[in-house]
């Protein structure tokens, strides 16, 4: 029995039947999340070194997509310049490790902070631009940064930098750093978008002028969002440098970073906090399974993207939620039906008739 019609006013009975599921769903979600976090926390106990590196990469994808999603999805500021912050994070930690004696964790935090500071400067330039102009402007800044780095002798210009041997971490440490960053990023963003700040951010996305007339000052909101988004991307960039140990501008500032963030977010579900995680799993799996034929991997990713934009533009995660809810409804209505079949057959039929009317 379908219960998807637009005029839900007439469908009070079916809403009531959905209620038990409503109470169940969050618990289900939380327990699945708990199991996943536990499994991840115990990762080094059962994963090989190779698997740990794969997981490290996956976590960084998730972190970066999650951060991009804060600005691009919740904030509607479609940045094409986030590669800049990956590179800035990588180079900051390399320079700090090479030239200072600061502890590694502090270096890592500073790499995030420098990315955030750069983002604040960039925001001052870009915030006056809207929509496509913002995107193009951010892309321009990232490309300018790449050109600068290719020529800056202090950071080794095109040949880049090698991290000191002391910076070499074992795989499980890297794994935990990436996992910790992912959890911190996701928690921060989930709390942020549920706060009044997040509401303001989404209001600006939907209609900046209307938001202003309701007392929302868009400038600081966008500025802070940009900085937070860049902060976590910068941290991820720092971790990536710690893993690779050699960095050079073309890969550290590669456009591929931001394209990956965007593809993951759109596949998983833009402006949702679970979407980027789901999207990263799908994207990364595809990449790994087809790693021997790069062309096929790109082709399939592109096809997947087109299919999602055409068929489920909200992304895989919202689609999965919708399907789950539909299945749940069918289950609950069957259950309710068989239970009440004897006593309330007549009433059920009346309800069915009414909801069919509503669909028409």
């Amino acid at each position: 029995m379908k219960t998807q019609p637009a005029s839900s006013d007439q469908l009070a009975p079916s809403v009531a039947r959905r209620q038990p599921l409503r109470h169940l769903a969050p618990w289900l979600g939380w327990s699945v999340l708990g199991v996943l976090v536990l499994l991840a926390a115990l990762g080094p106990l059962y994963l090989s070194a190779f698997d740990l590196v794969l997981a490290f990469t996956l976590f960084n994808y998730m972190t970066m997509a999650q951060s991009w999603n804060l600005l691009g999805g919740y904030g509607g500021q479609f940045s094409l310049g986030h590669s800049l912050f990956v590179g800035a994070g990588s180079y900051t930690i390399a320079v700090l490790l090479l030239h200072t004696g600061l502890p590694l964790l502090l270096d890592l935090v500073l790499s995030g902070l420098l990315a955030a500071a750069l983002a604040t400067l960039a925001a001052l330039l870009l915030m006056r631009l809207r929509e496509a102009y913002f995107s193009i402007g951010s892309l321009g800044l990232a490309m300018a940064a790449l050109t600068w780095m290719l020529n800056w002798s202090f950071t080794g210009a095109t040949s880049g930098l090698n991290l000191p041997p002391a910076a070499t971490l074992d795989y499980s440490t890297l794994y935990y750093l990436a996992l910790g960053l992912l959890v911190a990023t996701t928690l921060t963003i989930v709390l942020l978008v549920r706060s009044p700040f997040g509401l303001r951010l989404m209001a600006i996305r939907d209609d900046q002028e209307a938001a202003a007339e309701l007392g929302v000052n868009s400038f600081p909101v966008k500025l802070v969002t940009f900085a937070i988004s860049a902060f976590f991307v910068g941290l991820a960039g720092g971790l990536i440098a710690l893993n690779k140990l050699e960095i050079e501008p073309d890969s550290a500032f590669s456009m591929n970073w931001v394209i990956t963030m965007i593809i993951i977010t759109i596949i998983g579900g833009i402006a949702t906090s679970t979407g980027p995680l789901v999207g990263a799993v799908v994207f990364f799996t595809l990449q790994q399974v087809l790693q021997n034929s790069q062309a096929l991997s790109s082709l399939l990713t592109g096809l997947l993207l087109i299919l999602i934009i055409r068929l489920a533009p909200e992304g895989l995660w919202p689609l999965a939620l919708k399907l789950g809810r539909r299945l749940g409804e069918i289950f609950v209505s069957r259950f309710a039906h068989s239970k009440q079949a004897v006593t309330a057959l007549g009433a059920q039929e009346a309800v069915g008739g009414r909801s069919r009317l509503g669909e028409g």
């Binding site: 009044p196 007339e213 309701l214």
Partner: protein, 568 residues
């Protein structure tokens, strides 16, 4: 009463202190002066109505007060403080809420979240007290949206979106509420509902500036009204004074002494020019004049006796749950000019869009040249010979004038008898300025010239029926004269015209027959003379009939409706 604390202070009526003062406020957009030297005051606790025809500058006025746009000259004071240098969000936090004419919901957020935005913005000034979401829910209850608080705002119906606009503005706990056409697009029961809601908000002591086209709403709510026209304030007074003010009547209905003589003169001149150019022209011009006089009847059943070119029967159009046209009969004969008049939201544009196939028809039939086209898609109707000049023109702005005209000819009516070159020549002759500016970008032309391009583009398809939606909207009188002078020549080419026009006297002067629409219905149909003599016209525009008034509009009742709070 808890709700009172949500919305404002103690219930109070007009105090003497002015809450809002505008002094010599002017707003220019490039060379266009949208508002010119406007001065007025709104006293604390007052509900001031602002009326005026389309393009008078009413929404601009509200945008200047809310800070969405900047004042070019003059100053705006709110409770003694200069507003005109503050950004919009700071003005909102001072307690000025605005509800937009076209709802601007945060579409991807829930209804509750929409209302939480202003609640949180307000928090900065008045910290603590009770839970903010309780506050928001109370406002939603007041506006009748509580049961929809978890719906996505983008999925609401028009009435609910209007309520949400109000709710969001109220959530600022405004001292001054700017309401922009909250009743526009609503009908019947819905208008009464929203009127009651506004009255109850006002009764809680909120000062309100009400911009409104639906005159019944203004009459039942406002004790004082100012009238804008062409960016100027032309009158101020009680609703009754305003409804009898000769200049206001002239603005809405056109003055018998002022505008009318100039237009027919221009037309006669144009017709004379035509007559000199060919006998074929004479034939169609005279047939056009013989048709209407033969059909001088006064009921809605008026129909051209030969099969009409366009025959609309029992037409209803719905926008979601909103019925925009209700069982409407409408016809246009060969070579006729039919005028459609009525206030904003009466359904005029919807009618043209239903005829041209841009909106789906819910009930009824549309016949064109004897063929049923009710389900024929818009692009095929265009090829059958129906051309629509949109309100707002919709030119290809980046393209040149000539390119726009070429694009108009690309899908000419099937069986067109003229060549492209002939049609182009005809359009250039009709509007010589287009020939001069043929290679200019259409978007760079003046408003009047753009309208000429729009008409020219429609004519390039050699249509049999031309629908002109708001021919003169926002244009200077001299340009309007030119456009009206073109009408007889268009008719002379054997093209029938449906004219939607806010200058009533002008359209009455050129039309063969006139339909008066009110809230999606035809309330009167007849010759221009019959319409002039009939109270339906004034009723439709000013909500007051010169002849016996309907009970709903009599002053006695509207007095009562100013205090509907006692019932709530």
């Amino acid at each position: 009463m808890q709700a009172a604390s949500t919305v404002g202070g103690e219930p109070q009526r007009t105090d003497e202190a002015p809450l809002l003062v505008l002094r010599h406020v002017t707003r220019r957009f490039g060379g266009v002066t949208a508002l010119n030297d406007i001065s007025f005051e709104v006293r604390s606790g007052e509900l001031l109505g602002v009326i005026g025809p389309n393009g008078a500058g009413k929404s601009t006025l509200l945008s200047l007060i809310s800070g969405a746009q900047r004042v070019s000259e003059g100053e705006i004071l709110f409770a003694g403080q200069r507003l005109d240098r503050l950004p919009a969000h700071a003005i909102a936090r001072l307690g000025i809420g605005r509800a937009h004419q076209i709802p601007r919901p945060f579409g991807r957020m829930t209804v509750l979240q929409n209302v939480l935005i202003p609640v949180h913005a307000r928090k900065n000034e008045a910290p603590g007290r009770r839970s903010l979401s309780d506050d928001a829910e109370e406002i939603l209850r007041l506006c009748g949206l509580l049961d929809r608080k978890d719906r996505q705002a983008g999925s609401l119906t028009l009435l609910d979106l209007k309520r949400l606009e109000l709710a969001r503005a109220l959530a600022l706990k405004p001292r001054l509420l700017l309401l922009d056409e909250v009743a526009a697009g609503l009908v019947g029961q819905e208008i009464e509902e929203i009127t009651r809601l506004i009255a109850s908000i006002h009764a809680r002591g909120v000062t309100i500036l009400l911009v409104e086209h639906v005159q019944a709403v203004v009459r039942s709510l406002a004790r004082r009204v100012i009238v804008l026209d062409w960016g100027r304030k032309i009158a101020e007074g009680t609703p009754d004074e305003i409804a009898r003010h000769p200049e206001v009547i002239a603005v809405y209905l056109g003055s018998e002494q002022g505008e009318q003589p100039s237009t027919p003169a221009a037309i006669h001149q144009a017709v004379d020019e035509q007559a000199a150019t060919g006998a074929e022209v004479n034939a169609s011009t005279s047939s056009r004049h013989s048709l209407p006089s033969a059909r001088a009847m006064s009921t809605a059943a008026v129909r051209p006796s030969p099969p009409p070119l366009l025959d609309v029967q029992n037409l209803s159009v719905d926008y979601g749950k909103l019925r925009a046209l209700r069982s409407l009969d409408f016809s246009v004969g060969e070579g006729e000019i039919v005028a459609v008049v009525g206030a904003n939201g009466a359904g005029k544009t919807t009618l043209t869009q239903a005829i041209s196939g841009l909106v789906p028809v819910s009930e009824g039939r549309v016949l064109f040249a004897g063929r049923e086209i009710t389900r024929v898609p818009a692009h095929q109707r265009a090829r059958l010979g129906i051309a629509l000049c949109h309100e707002g023109r919709r030119l290809f702005r980046e393209q040149t004038v000539r390119e726009n005209l070429e694009l108009g000819a690309a899908y000419a009516t099937r069986g067109a008898t003229t060549t492209f070159a002939q049609r182009l020549e005809r359009v250039y002759d009709l509007f010589p300025v287009l020939r001069e500016r043929a290679s200019s970008q259409a978007g760079r032309l003046s408003g009047g010239q753009q309208q000429m391009v729009a008409i020219g583009r429609a004519l390039m398809a050699e249509p049999r029926l031309l629908l002109l939606d708001e021919l003169s909207l926002g244009l200077a009188p001299a340009v309007v004269d030119q456009l009206f002078a073109a009408l007889p020549r268009i008719l002379a080419w054997g093209i029938s015209v449906v004219l939607i026009e806010q200058h009533i006297q002008r359209s009455l002067a050129v039309a063969d027959r006139v339909y008066v629409l009110e809230r999606g219905r035809v309330v009167f149909c007849g010759t221009p003379d019959q319409v002039r003599a009939h109270p339906a016209l004034q009723q439709a525009y000013l909500g007051v009939a010169a002849a016996p008034a309907t009970p709903a509009d009599s002053p006695a009742v509207s007095e009562q409706e100013q205090h509907p709070v006692s019932g709530t």
